[in-house]
């Protein structure tokens, strides 16, 4: 392999890692919400969007990128708590069908509220200049430090979650809840409070992911659904309720998706006209993660690291 193409591969690997970390941030919350509360929350992507919009608008108005982070966290967290109290709480005892539909309704509502208040045009935030200029990681490999920072932040969150889940009392309850919800309730734990904490935590992670991914992909209405479907794939592949699964599957799928998108059209160009190769390559690359999920589920119907029985 020529050194040039090696660098390209490394660069795309880093891009994949960054996307995977993003997916993990969303999937961690979603997998806990599903694993512990038994609720399919299609509106998780909306929290991602709310965080992105709130942070980006404030950062744009003040010119301070860092100010956007707490704003995104607060906005997504508050929205998450409101959604939990008003809607999700009524869905615990319902079947999956009602949950899918009610949270689908939430998606429509959130998208329209954003369209009404902000408009259809995407909004942007500039990355701080110190993070925008590529740095040389290896000889010839230049990479924007902003993406490195996202990867680092994501891995840090993963570590934090690991400690939270495995070393604290809340984490113990969360693990117990993911394994056997009814037993935890029977032991006298205030399960409602636990649900609220878990949902709030998921909302915070989603809001954070939304804001930091803003400068990389556009902040626009519908951004939530796009990433939501990929996130669901991560949750299901990783095993519902498993943080470890979300982490492994997130990074795996992020890398696979990015590599396919980057290199498949080029490979196909060898066997067909360029314009068709590009379209087909992107198409198959988009199918990639779904195909991978189908394969995993066929071999392990509960996912890679299924929690509980």
């Amino acid at each position: 392999m020529r050194p040039g193409s090696m660098i390209l591969v490394l660069e795309q690997l880093l891009n994949g890692l960054q996307y995977g970390v993003m997916l993990f941030l969303l999937a961690a919350g979603l997998t806990l919400i599903f694993g512990i509360m038994g609720v399919i929350n299609l509106a998780h992507g909306s929290l991602f969007m709310v965080g992105a919009y709130a942070g980006t608008l404030v950062a744009g108005a003040t010119g301070n990128f860092w100010l956007g982070i707490p704003v995104a966290l607060v906005a997504a967290g508050a929205t998450g708590l409101a959604v939990e109290a008003l809607v999700i709480r009524r869905l615990y005892a319902r079947d999956h069908l009602d949950q899918v539909l009610a949270t689908f309704g939430l998606i429509l509502i959130f998208n329209q509220i954003i369209t009404l208040t902000v408009g259809r045009q995407p909004v942007f935030v500039a990355i701080p200049e110190s993070l925008a200029a590529p740095v040389e990681l290896l000889p010839g490999l230049f990479y924007p430090p902003y993406r490195l920072l996202i990867i680092a932040a994501g891995l840090l969150v993963a570590l934090g979650l690991y400690l939270l889940i495995n070393r604290t009392r809340i984490g113990m309850l969360v693990r117990a809840g993911a394994t056997n919800r009814d037993m935890v309730r029977a032991l006298g734990v205030d399960i409602r409070l636990l649900y609220t904490v878990v949902f709030g935590l998921g909302a915070l992670l989603a809001g954070f992911a939304g804001y930091v991914s803003g400068p990389i992909s556009a902040v626009q209405v519908g951004m939530g659904e796009q990433i939501l479907l990929s996130t669901f794939v991560v949750v299901v592949v990783g095993g519902v309720g498993s943080i470890k699964g979300a982490c492994v599957a997130g990074i795996l799928l992020g890398v696979v998706d990015t590599m396919l998108r980057a290199f498949l059209p080029g490979l196909l160009r060898g066997v067909m006209p360029a314009s068709e190769a590009d379209a087909l390559g992107i198409g198959i690359a988009s199918m990639g993660i779904y195909l991978l999920m189908a394969l995993v589920l066929l071999i392990r119907p509960k996912g890679l690291f299924a929690a509980g029985g």
Binding site: A102, F104, I109, N111, V233, V236, V240, L280
Partner: protein, 331 residues
């Protein structure tokens, strides 16, 4: 729970009103409401098909747009090859005959449902919801990337397929043709639902383990039901492509699956007439809201939320309760 008598009465009233109204629609409907009713008929075939697996079989499929869309694409692709006079994949001649394209669409979507169902039914619960969604997304992305058939833009079917020499450009004729297909489908579905197969399927939903103990293999029965349901959705898609003279990736998008599910829920899961009322309610609401405000989806979302959180059993159960009230008032 309403009494069987009341439910029977509600069903009979519903059916009688439906038949008379459907036959008379073109006499007093203007062209836009005629088009609305035609769309209701076509979509209700897909909704009823989804209800067959969802309501009777307990399989929550979030991927029925795949079958709906494939049905539409079969019509579209056959038309393209008919217009170009080139064979599809080198050996299948194109066609613009409704009696060829619709059965072809039903067979293709049935085969697709066989493949997707055979794989998906190995899982259950949330994994089933997600894997059906995943397969539908795969089909969606496949057609988006298929430049030969319009890619993102889809296929324009310049003329509605020919059928028994009728003038299919006439919207009233087209309405009665669609009504005919609809009636045949609903009768067939009625027979299936009330056959022993339908009974076994409902048994599976209530208690799969007990049915297995009685000697019915759940996987096989569920797969049959899934294939039948996929064929129904394909029929609906094929008719829709003929009605709109257009087949596009939009038909395959996952929000279409969610919309079909919404229609089923609005009307009432697991009741025969429910999906029909639900489809009508959904499309009337959508059309009306869209005429009122650009932000109609906001209201649709709120209504959806209210229906799911506030009611159990949808329109059909509501009508049965009403009928029960009337009975009580008389006695």
């Amino acid at each position: 729970m309403p009494s069987p008598d009341a439910r029977n009465l509600a069903r009979r009233i519903g059916l009688a009103v439906l038949v008379v109204a459907l036959l008379a629609v073109p006499m007093f409907a203007d062209s836009s409401s005629l088009s609305l009713v035609t769309r209701i008929l076509i979509y209700s075939i897909a909704a009823a098909s989804l209800n067959f697996v969802l309501g009777y079989g307990g399989m929550i499929s979030l991927g029925h747009a795949a079958f709906f869309g494939i049905g539409g694409y079969v019509v579209g692709m056959l038309f393209v090859h008919h217009a170009d006079a080139t064979p599809l994949m080198g050996f299948i001649p194109g066609s613009n005959q409704l009696l060829v394209t619709v059965p072809a669409a039903v067979v293709v979507s049935g085969l697709l449902a066989l493949i997707i169902g055979a794989l998906s039914l190995r899982t259950g619960g949330v994994q089933f919801i997600m894997i059906t969604l995943a397969f539908a997304q795969m089909i969606f992305f496949f057609f988006v990337s298929l430049k030969a058939y319009g890619g993102e833009d889809g296929i324009i079917v310049r003329r509605t397929n020919e059928f028994l020499g009728l003038n299919m450009r006439d919207r009233v004729t087209l309405y009665y043709v669609m009504l005919g297909f609809w009636a045949v489908f609903m009768l067939a579905l009625w027979r299936v639902v009330h056959s022993s197969f339908g009974t076994v399927l409902r048994g599976m939903k209530q208690n799969e383990r007990r049915m297995a103990a009685l000697g019915y293999a759940p996987y096989r029965y569920k797969l049959y039901a899934f294939v039948l349901s996929g064929m129904g959705a394909g029929l609906s898609g094929a008719l829709m492509a003929n009605f709109l003279r257009f087949a596009s990736p939009d038909m395959l998008h996952w929000t279409k699956s969610a919309a079909l599910m919404t229609m089923v829920i609005l009307g009432g899961v697991g009741s025969f007439l429910g999906p029909i009322w639900g489809t009508a309610a959904y499309l009337v609401l959508e059309t009306w809201l869209a005429a009122q405000t650009e932000y109609w989806q906001l209201w649709l979302g709120l209504i959806l939320l209210a229906v799911v959180l506030g009611t159990r059993g949808g329109i059909n159960a509501g009508m049965a309760r009403l009928a029960a009230l009337m009975m009580r008032g008389r006695g």
